[in-house]
Every structure is written in C-alpha cells, then in structure tokens.
Amino acid sequence: MNEPNSNELIGRLLGPAGPEIGCDACFEELDRYVELEAAGEDADAAVPGLSAHLEGCPACREEHESLLALVRDD
C-alpha cells in the first residue's frame, strides 16, 4: 500500500463527519441510489447517509463505482 500523506490519513482516521448508514444498509440501497445518480436525480436526498458512508468505507465505495459504471455501460 502506498503511504498516505498526513491529510489523507486524518481523513481515514476520523471518517465522514455527518450521519451515515452502515455497510448492510448501503448494500440494500445501492441499486436505487445508482439508478437515481445515472438518471441525474438527487440520489443523496433519496438515500440520506449513503454518500457519507461511501466516503468512509473503501469497499462499499469500490462496489458503488463499479455498479454505476456497469449501469451506465448498459
């Protein structure tokens, strides 16, 4: 793993400041969130706390990126 700089490390240690959902809820809502994003709608308003979770969870962030790319590829 590449060493992070100090600001990145602080961000990873403290995580997102706002309310966030957990990994299980993120998985449950991810398909709806991604389709709203792909349609240009306000996904964050529909699923509060999911974007904060993506900021704090690299694994869910990877899966979100992939689902969005796959849906856009369809």
């Binding site: 602080i10 809820a25 998985f27």
Partner: protein, 216 residues
C-alpha cells in the same frame, strides 16, 4: 434531522419511498415472474440470470484484476456469478422494485467478485492489527499542503487513540484506516461480519472526533 430519517445508533435510515415508484419495467417483471415459477421457464430464467451475473462479475474482475492471469480471472468471475446466483435466488422476495431487477441483481455479482478479489490479494499476507503499527503515523508522507498544524493534529489523534478507544476499536481502526486492510479480509480473519466491523470503525471514529472537539 428531518422526519424522513431516523437516527439508528449513530447512523440514519433512508427516507421512505414515495408511493407509485415501484412499477417494474417489463424486462424485470418477466424475469422475476419466471424466477418465481417452475419448470422450463424457471430453468431458462436461471440461465439468463446467470449470464447477467457473469457479465457483472467479469466487469468487476476486469477493473480490479491487478496482474492476475486471464484463466484465474475467469475462474473468480465464474465463482462470483455462481455465488451471486444463489444469493439472488435466496433473496428474491427482498427485491422491492425500486430499481431495475438487473441493477439489483448486478450488485450481488459485483459484491461477490470484489470480495473474492480483495481476499485473494491478501491471502498470504499477515494482517497488521497491532497498535505498534502506529509507528506508521510518524512517517506519514507530507502532502502538498502539509503544515505543522496538520502534523500536530495527527499527533493528537494518535494520543486520543490510546486514551479513548478500546483495544478492539484501536486494532480495527489501525488495520482499516492506517494499514488499508480491506474490511472483508479483516472480517473473515476476525470471524465477524463487514457490517459489525464497520460499526466498530464508525464508533471509534465518533469517539475520536468527540474527544478532539472536547479538548480543542
């Protein structure tokens, strides 16, 4: 927080879905109906679903294969599609029609493939879990806007980790946030779940933020 959300142990629940938003597209309706049926139509629907899941799994593997040879990549994609098929069939009744059925199904294949790839990348590596790994703090590379205050803040966080976190919270935070261990890999080694581990991480981060605010 608005009435549309409710605090759940420091997290939020999503807003209720407005009525009238759950009409399925014809393709989703047809596939779902066949998967809930039997006989030849069911077998054909399963084969169609497996094709979709394999496409999604291959998509994920191709994005993140990191030097893996083609044969190994295809085995992982096929295993992910097989596992995702079982998961989708087991959870059919959980599909709420809030997205296309294919999008809902894709996420299972992406998840299975991503987890397999992360576990494979760490399969022969010892996980750095111990607080001694905090030595890493002191060698964190300066960033482009790295000022003395930032380094001091990092030092305060390191001290707060010793002062306010439980040993388990500290181990999880060090592994995930400092050493970049994937959460699925850590969950497997600690015999727990990704959700439970993220809750530990979330609580540790909240404690640190609160402590820093109190002492600033």
């Amino acid at each position: 927080m608005s009435s549309a959300t409710a605090t759940v142990r420091g997290a939020v629940r999503s807003a209720p879905v407005p009525a009238g938003k759950t009409v399925l597209d014809p393709e989703s309706q047809e596939l779902l109906q066949a998967l809930k049926g039997s006989g030849r139509a069911y077998d054909e629907a399963c084969a169609r679903l497996h094709e979709l899941l394999l496409r999604a799994a291959r998509f994920e593997v191709s994005r993140r294969r990191r030097g893996m040879n083609g044969g190994e990549a295809d085995v992982i994609a096929m295993e992910a599609a097989d596992d995702a098929l079982l998961a989708v069939l087991r959870r059919l009744d959980d599909f709420r029609g809030l997205s296309k059925f294919t999008t809902w199904a894709y996420k299972f294949a992406l998840y299975e493939a991503a987890v397999k790839l992360r576990r494979r990348a760490w399969q022969d590596r010892e996980l750095p879990l111990e607080p001694e790994a905090l030595g890493f703090f002191h060698s964190a590379s300066p960033g482009p806007d790295d000022y003395v205050e930032v380094r001091e803040r990092l030092g305060k966080i390191a001290a707060a980790m010793d002062d306010v976190l439980t040993p388990h919270q500290r181990r999880v935070l060090v592994a995930l946030a400092v050493n970049g261990v994937p959460i699925d890999v850590l969950a497997e080694r600690l015999s727990t779940t990704r959700g439970a581990l993220y809750k530990t991480l979330h609580d540790a981060r909240a404690k640190l933020r609160a402590h820093l605010e109190e002492t600033s």
